[in-house]
Point group: C3
Chain length 259, copies 3
């Protein structure tokens, strides 16, 4: 009885197909893989969203990809679990300006990528055990708009000094600093060098350098990152990518000095 | 008694001197070293030929280098055994457009390379134990002319999936495919994307990816490779390089699925 | 009592501040770190000098940096002990055309580097145990002005042959040669290819390749190096950098063939 399905395995019959520039997909994957190896996308006719927390529950990411980020996009409501290393291997096949086409074959539980004359089929991960973390609604006291290029330089300078950094905001400036046993480093950006600064008093927290470094290095050069801070609180980072069709929220727990 | 030689040590007195572009020599060495580390060239006044088989007897190469590939060429009939790693170290000294001069000093059993102001002398290998493999005369059912750039991409896509690939030719298309436990990949080139296609029926064989990858990656981008196939037979690859002054035949045994 | 200092900790109160192009500092650090990891600069109002010998006492370097090498320079007489790896980490923050500012905070025993919006503070090393080696006053028989680009190529060619090289000067040419068990290589530069040649008779010495390679590879391409030689004597190398504001002398002990 062709066409008859007794059990459709959940998402069978639901459809997802989309096409986007290789460099757009690469930008998304870089950001997400700063935190996790596997990801569950929640897909709707209007776009994709994801929420993920790292294994140690230190950082959390929330990403929204508007369908405008795609060249073409057609989707029913569904979930899509993907292995990011496999998508990276697909991205290596494409030059930045090339298009990558994705098509879900829900009956087979596969996602099909097409790049040029290559067809790459990968198993869709079972998402039943991948729950969406609840993203806390933080109200932090200060915020600054900082060039990611400056932050990358500050991270690079901090790298040989210590494994944690202090971020500080006051009405005059943003500062990233790092203290070692004998040496220290700081990146100081006065109000005039910031895209935006809102702080009524000085706030300051310490964070693990490796987490901060992973996310910042994944952000494309030229991006302005909004950093929200409070004293001894998680930081909240948010920024847009891909002509504002992609928005990212990122939370990172502070390192509390107990000793 | 000048000019008198009591014992000429085999090739003594026979001469070989030639000059060629660094990039031409590099192209030859890349191809040969995809298969073997040491090689015996059979040299005549008209050019050089070599036949080589890899240690596992899985693949075989036959190369003919017309004297037109050289800027200057003078040779008596002789054999020349060379260590390819040593030639690669000479190639590292030269930019692509520079000329490399080779001169045999048969009395000393040396080959002398000259690059710029550098003179590099290397021992000629004893060729007495290096026999020419007999290249079988295969008559295969189908052949296609395929862009090596496409093949490189297909190999790259297959790399993370499996350690063997299937090549398929039918009257409509050429296909390279690779099946893993959960994922798969294929490169499909329809007739219109091939330089040439001749197949009366579908033929298909499986080959070890590493061997195929080594030879394909050694071929300069932009080259069209002729692939001859039959079902469960060795493949035969042939292509020209260096303005058709170099021709290469390559045979690769199939992987027969016994289990 | 502001301004009153009971104990000034040696150099406290003495000042050093200077600014120079990143690429100039990089050039200096590359040369010095070919020999040592830590260095003591002797600083005067007119510039900086250093003398250093490697741990095995095989090679010695003397460098003079005129204050003209700096964009701005202000210094009292003092000594400054620095860890070269730390300066390299600062250099990684700067592009070649960017300026790096150095300021001594003698009270804290720190040297402060400023690059863009980054401030990097590093501990000044205790120089009390870093004595200046006495540089011998050698009078060698022959000298040639040799392109460092040619020397780099000769070193590269020698690399796979042996771990020592022979330098030779006679009234006709400069020669770098290297003999292995089966292979050999030489770089021969006739008088016309040398910037300068003065040799009344042939002189020749053998040197360790690794030391010679380290210093030569650290010299910027396009530099002419003066090589002074005598038979079985140390070699003396001297050259200028940074528009002649930096002069370098380098001595390397010969490898004497005892067996």
């Amino acid at each position: 009885m062709p066409g008859t399905v007794l059990y459709d395995g959940g998402d069978a019959g639901r459809q997802f197909s989309a096409e986007l520039k290789s460099e757009t997909l690469k930008g998304l994957v870089n950001i997400i893989s700063a935190l996790v190896d596997e990801v569950k996308f929640n897909i709707t006719p209007e776009g994709m969203t994801l929420k993920a927390v790292d294994a140690a529950h230190v950082a959390m990411i929330e990403m929204k990809v508007d369908k405008g980020a795609f060249e073409s996009y057609y989707a029913d409501d569904c979930e899509l679990g993907l292995d990011l290393d496999k998508i990276k291997s697909v991205l290596k096949l494409a030059s930045g300006v090339e298009f990558i086409r994705m098509e879900q074959n829900a009956n087979l539980g596969k996602l099909i990528f097409k790049v040029g004359n290559i067809t790459r089929s990968m198993t869709i991960l079972d998402t039943s055990s991948m729950s969406d973390p609840k993203v806390p609604d933080l109200h932090l006291k200060a915020v600054a708009g900082v060039s990611v290029d400056e932050l990358k330089r500050g991270i690079s300078a901090a790298d040989s000094i210590s494994d944690h950094i202090t971020l500080r905001l006051n009405p005059e400036r943003f500062e990233l600093s790092c203290e070692g046993d004998t040496d220290s480093v700081s990146l100081a950006l006065d109000k005039g060098k910031l895209a935006d600064l809102s702080a009524e008093e000085e706030v300051c927290s310490m964070y693990p350098l490796d987490y901060f470094s992973n996310i910042i290095k994944a952000v494309p050069n030229g991006t302005v990152i909004n950093i929200e801070l409070d004293s001894n609180y998680p930081m909240k980072i948010w920024f847009d990518m891909a002509d504002n069709h992609v928005s990212v929220n990122y939370l990172l727990a502070p390192r509390v000095e107990s000793d």
